[in-house]
């Protein structure tokens, strides 16, 4: 579904991605793990077209989207819930969700998307008139995911959805990710919480300073000694 080949991205002179290869197949949950500054967010931002690749190729559903605009990419069914939530703080929950459906014209399917999101996150329904900036961190995270779902993505990319959340909320979010996946949305997940991410994933990639250094089945990765030492924070697990 998503194929990334030899992806290179620069921030000015900083060579942040040095040839990333990865693939996500329809129906999968794939994790991208790596330490701070490895280039995980940069990878996702380049895939969505917000950053321009300096070399390499991204294709989605068989089409080359390397140079496509973000709005075309969203329209094709690829959506990102970015790191740090990035909700529209002065807009209400409902308006935030409405913006998620910005590229959609069909009223009936927009209604369905609202139902789906409010079903997954009843809390958002209770607070639909509240301005997003006044919600708690966890609620804002739900909103960021919900808003990305409003675009009706075939592939949903999540950048650190559990960042800064209390343990019970982390569990809830991971539960939601699995539900969303079962409902037919493919997921590419970036997480600090590598243990949990791998536990719900089919496959995983390990990123180190702009390169993929390991890729395997999720189970194999979580049993890999190097991975356990570096990212799972626990050798005798």
């Amino acid at each position: 579904m998503l194929v990334v080949k030899d992806l290179n991205t620069h921030y000015g002179n900083i060579h942040a991605l040095k040839g990333i290869d990865l693939e996500v197949k329809e129906g999968e949950i794939v994790s991208l793990i790596g330490s701070n500054g490895a280039g995980k967010s940069t990878t996702l931002l380049t895939i969505t077209g917000l950053l321009k690749a300096t070399r390499g190729q991204v294709s989605f559903k068989g089409k080359d989207i390397t140079h496509a605009s973000s709005s075309d990419i969203v329209h094709m069914g690829l959506s990102l819930a970015p790191e740090g939530r990035e909700v529209f703080p002065a807009l209400t929950v409902q308006e935030n969700l409405q913006l998620g459906a910005y590229t959609k014209k069909d009223k009936a399917s927009i209604k369905e998307s609202y139902d789906r999101v409010y079903d997954l996150f009843p809390r958002l329904y209770e607070r639909k008139k509240q301005t997003a900036g006044t919600m708690s961190g966890g609620e804002q995270q739900m909103l960021a995911i919900g808003r990305a779902l409003m675009t009706e993505p075939k592939l949903l990319m999540l950048d650190e959805p559990s960042l800064g959340l209390a343990p019970n909320l982390v569990l809830l979010i991971f539960d939601m990710i699995q539900t969303i996946n079962k409902q037919g949305t493919t997921v590419l997940l970036v997480e600090q919480n590598a243990n949990m991410a791998l536990s719900i994933s089919n496959r995983g990639y390990v990123l180190e300073i702009g390169k993929v250094t390991l890729s395997d089945e999720a189970k194999a990765l979580s049993e890999n000694d190097k991975v356990r030492k570096a990212y799972l924070g626990n050798i005798d697990h």
Binding site: L50, S71, V74, E86, F88, A90, L99, G100, Y102, T151
Partner: protein, 290 residues
């Protein structure tokens, strides 16, 4: 006294129309667009030009609205959008808008001459009586037209899909792009609205004072800018209130202190308000970098 009030309100509505242009552009770009005063003068000259071609006043104003809106889009497309693309500092864009102000002003001098030119009165039927108050028909016309326009603008920003996307771009451009919003088209639309309202303001004021000249936008632009800051720049209704405050106080100052003091009053009020409320009357806290 009531006469000064009506005069001030009419003038204030025109300031409000110019001020919303500053406010809208500031909202989406966090940029003070100093070309706006000249764009207003351009609008007045376009109206004059089409009046000269015997189009009749109303069609002339409509043409002026369209052309001035397009001018504002072009200003963004050729001078400001390239700077955004290069992620240059805000100060570069600011200086660019000042440069453009002078370019437009000079072009107006070249094509129309720098002298003051007569403009036909719009809707001039002497005095009319509304709700027991006797008011000049020209003032009534200004009040009614600007009220309708400001209501339309507010409706567009608050209740339409394009308005929602304007507010989204204002709050978070990155997230707006992730929603599939074409940020550049939203910015262009915003400039069009700003240019169009400036053209209307320019035409109304020209019809009121019956004169047009190339640097008519300088003082009007500064006063409207202070009206926008007074109300809290970036807040639409703030600009309207700010415009009315500036217009009415100017009108009373002219009557009570004499015409030579009228221009200073807007700025004195601005300074006093900012001392007590640095964000302006209705300004939001997070918008501070002017």
């Amino acid at each position: 006294m009531i006469e000064q009030l009506l005069n001030g309100l009419a003038l204030g509505m025109v300031y409000a129309l110019i001020a919303v242009g500053y406010s809208l552009v500031f909202g989406v770009l966090r940029l003070v667009n100093f070309s706006h005063g000249s764009v207003y003068a351009f609008g007045a000259h376009m109206a004059l030009f089409f009046v000269g071609l015997q189009f009749g006043v109303i069609p002339a104003i409509v043409f002026s609205i369209i052309l001035t809106g397009i001018l504002d889009i072009l200003i963004d497309k050729f001078s400001l959008a390239p700077l955004r693309k290069k992620k240059s500092k805000g100060i570069a864009a600011l200086i660019t808008t000042i440069g453009i102000a002078y370019i437009i002003q000079n072009l107006l001098m070249i094509f129309f001459g720098s002298q003051t030119k007569p403009f036909p009165a719009i809707f001039d039927y002497g005095y009319v009586t509304v709700l027991g108050i006797s008011i000049k028909s020209t003032q009534l016309f200004i009040l009614v037209v600007s009220l309708i326009l400001l209501a339309i603008l507010t409706y567009v920003v608050k209740f339409t899909k394009i308005g929602l996307s304007m507010r989204a771009v204002e709050q978070n451009q990155k997230a707006a792009s992730l929603m599939g919003i074409n940020v550049n088209s939203v910015i262009r639309f915003t400039f069009f609205l700003g240019g169009a309202s400036a053209a209307i303001a320019g035409s109304l004021i020209s019809g009121y004072y019956q004169v047009v000249y190339p640097n008519m936008g300088f003082l009007a632009g500064l006063k409207a800018f202070s009206a926008a800051v007074l109300g809290g720049i970036g807040v639409l209704y703030g600009s309207i209130v700010g415009g009315l405050v500036v217009g009415v106080s100017e009108s009373y100052a002219a009557a009570l202190l004499g015409g030579s003091y009228r221009d200073a009053v807007a700025f004195i009020i601005l300074i006093i308000v900012l001392l007590f409320k640095p964000t302006g009357l209705f300004g939001k806290k997070d918008i501070t970098k002017v």
